[in-house]
């Protein structure tokens, strides 16, 4: 199967501080992943792990320091960015800041239709918009002429998905699409992604810190930590049988809606973000319970254990596959 999107050795460095006391932070550090058609792929991690930066680079909002992005067999260049093609659309975190509060929501839809010349005449445009809105459970009459403040957050997020669907994209990049939506309405958004994948063959790059919805919706997942992908594979393998100590920490930190399963142990929290980014060796060494001397000096290699990529010294050859916790 031909890959829809391939990201190879993507690196992005930011300079922090003044001209004199300057430090380089590698926000995205040699990240490689690919996406198949009709697949939901999750990038998960804490805030400040580089997942949003990765999405921005794929969308062309940021310039990568090095690395290549191949979309549909074409290499993305400075001139031809992925987002400039009709095949890729984006959905953002806060639906209230996606839309200008002084503009009616439908004007965005007509603008997109006009920009891509998707319909002749107003009636054809309305028909097209109505078709897309029905996919997300809304209709044209109930949204025409309204301003963003007349919708709830969940509705507005579904509207922004409908807007993304106008150009019939094959890839949707969704950056934390449910984190501003109430827990009780999250499933309506997440179920929508499933429907788009199954019925329209759309791929979704789902960026989130919410592993519970990630497990529910996605096919494959990559866990990011301080710019590195530390574990990547099928969602069943990565989340049900986490190998990297960081994935385990994330997995254990999700508050489960079951009062019998409360946490008993205490958790180590991050030091200053900067310190972790500048750490030599494995960036998780400062918080890892299974840390050894080697972790502090050498950066671990990417190792495959049963089709799952793990970036940890514990899994290097000759060490056995299942270290005790």
């Amino acid at each position: 199967m031909e890959k829809l999107l391939e990201v190879k050795d993507l690196t992005k460095q930011y300079a922090l501080g003044s001209l004199i006391a300057r430090i380089l932070i590698t926000a995205v550090d040699h990240v490689s992943f690919f996406m198949n058609p009709a697949e939901i792929f999750t990038l998960a991690g804490e805030s400040g792990c580089g997942k949003t930066t990765t999405a921005k680079i794929v969308l062309g909002f940021e310039e990568a320091s090095s690395g290549t992005i191949v979309h549909n067999g074409k290499v993305q260049t400075r001139k031809e960015k992925v987002w400039a093609t009709e095949g890729v659309q984006a959905i953002f975190q806060d639906p209230f800041s996606t839309f200008n509060p002084l503009r009616t929501v439908d004007s965005y839809f007509f603008e997109t239709v006009q920009n891509y010349r998707l319909a002749e005449g107003k009636q054809a445009a309305i028909d097209l918009i109505d078709r897309k809105l029905r996919l997300v459970g809304l209709t044209y009459p109930e949204f025409a002429g309204k301003y963003p403040n007349e919708f709830s957050g969940g509705q507005l997020q579904r509207i922004s998905i409908a807007r993304a669907l106008i150009t019939d994209p094959k890839l949707i990049i969704a950056d934390e699409p449910v984190s501003m939506v109430d827990a009780s309405l999250r499933m309506s958004i997440v179920n929508l992604f499933k429907k788009l994948r199954d019925e329209l063959g759309v791929s979704v790059l789902y960026i989130t810190h919410d592993l519970a919805t990630a497990y529910y919706v996605s096919d494959r997942i990559a866990i990011m930590f301080r710019g590195n992908i530390v574990e990547m594979g099928s969602v069943e393998q990565v989340l049900m049988n986490p190998r990297h100590p960081y994935t385990r920490l994330l997995r254990d930190s999700i508050p489960e809606a079951d009062p019998r399963k409360t946490w008993t142990d205490t958790v180590m929290l991050a030091e200053l973000e900067q310190e972790e980014y500048l750490r030599q060796g494995c960036k998780f060494a400062g918080r890892c319970a299974l840390v050894s001397e080697r972790c502090k000096k050498e950066v671990p290699k990417d190792i495959f254990v049963e089709d799952v990529l793990v970036k940890c010294h514990l899994y290097e050859e000759g060490k056995g596959n299942s270290p005790s916790r």
Binding site: S152, A183, S184, A212, R251, A257, P259, L269, A270
Partner: protein, 338 residues
């Protein structure tokens, strides 16, 4: 009615409405409607509900911070201070100010705007102490603050940092430490973990639990995340459209939810190892300015009957500490959402 001996905060038929005057036409937003709460000493009480159900307004009323356009329309809020019940509305502004931080403190949502960005955390601490502690003890209290910061696992040099140098989770923890400094009897948290990611959220919950254990005080926690409630709360009240519709111990709410809305809230959460299709609560929350007749949940409820459209159900008590306002339960028929 005499309050039970261990009740520390009590509301009686509390009604707080936003009254807006729009070009002569009055618009009334019924954010808190006939709420009766009895919150005990030494417990963590969780309030759950969707955004726009009046949770934050209820907290404002509990905190005694009712300012126009919010109006106290009826009922009362009572604190028990030194074995005596005090009605909050009867206090003067100065008396209320003195109670804050010392007796009751507030942890706001999103700590970004709490700490003054142009002064060091240390100076914020000194400001707070100066406004609540008489001069001779200030130095001692500041030493206690330094001690407390270490005990709560925050880095020692945090006092010398500016707020922008800290991450969101760290700032939230500093805010919580600050609100616990003068050992208040009641702490009110408005979505303190919402903007944080999972690991930091766990750290904040851990810290709140630690503080509660040490001070043996009351924490009232509002969040829409049922997972957080399962982990921290002793009792939970479910709020819908300005009313408490169900209340019980955490076990009762999670094991035997009786109100259809509570059932939806709990069953809509995804779980690990279970990829079964899950549905959101159908429809969207009602506007508080234009509430449906009868039970406010009836337009979204799968078990609606004619009586639900006509009048609001009263509370029935299926078990000790468990109360629920639903017509289905009132007649002994327990509906279960599949």
């Amino acid at each position: 009615m005499e309050p039970k001996p261990e009740t520390i905060l009590r509301t009686d038929q509390l009604k707080a409405f936003y009254v807006l005057d729009m070009h002569g036409a009055q618009k009334v937003i019924k954010a808190v409607n006939e709420v009766n709460l009895e919150i005990q000493e030494n417990e963590i009480y969780g309030i759950a509900g969707e955004s726009g159900c009046g949770k934050s307004t209820l907290l404002k009323a509990l905190f005694g911070a009712i300012e126009p356009p919010l109006r106290l329309v009826g009922g009362k809020v009572c604190y028990r201070i030194n074995w005596e019940e005090v009605e909050v509305t009867s206090l003067s502004a100065e008396e209320k100010r003195r109670l804050r931080l010392e007796y009751i403190s507030y942890i706001p949502q999103g700590s970004m705007s709490v700490l003054n960005p142009v002064i060091k955390i240390k100076e914020s601490y000194q400001d707070f102490i100066a406004s609540h502690v008489p001069e001779p003890q200030r130095k001692k209290v500041f030493e206690q603050a330094q001690q407390q910061i270490l005990e709560l696992g925050l880095p020692r040099n945090i006092l010398n940092a500016y707020p922008h140098q800290l991450s969101g989770g760290m700032r939230q923890r500093v805010t919580i430490a600050l609100s616990a400094l003068l050992k208040p009897r009641i702490m009110i948290g408005d979505e303190p973990t919402t903007a944080l990611d999972v690991v930091m959220q766990r750290g904040v919950i851990q810290m709140l639990k630690e503080i509660q254990k040490k001070l043996k005080n009351t924490i009232i926690l509002v969040t829409h995340d049922m997972g957080v409630h399962a982990n921290i709360a002793n009792r939970i009240g479910i709020m819908y459209a300005g009313r408490i519709v169900e209340e019980g111990t955490t076990m009762q709410i999670f094991e035997e939810p009786l109100h259809p809305y509570t059932q939806f809230l709990i069953h809509s959460l995804p779980k690990f190892g279970d990829k079964m299709m899950r549905e959101s609560v159908p429809g969207s929350p009602p506007s508080l300015a234009d509430l449906p007749s009868g039970c406010p949940f009836h337009p979204r409820c799968p078990y609606t009957r004619s009586i639900c459209r006509e009048s609001m159900p009263g509370f029935s008590y299926p078990a000790e500490k468990h109360r629920v306002a639903c017509w289905l339960i009132g007649e002994g028929k327990h509906g279960k959402a599949s």
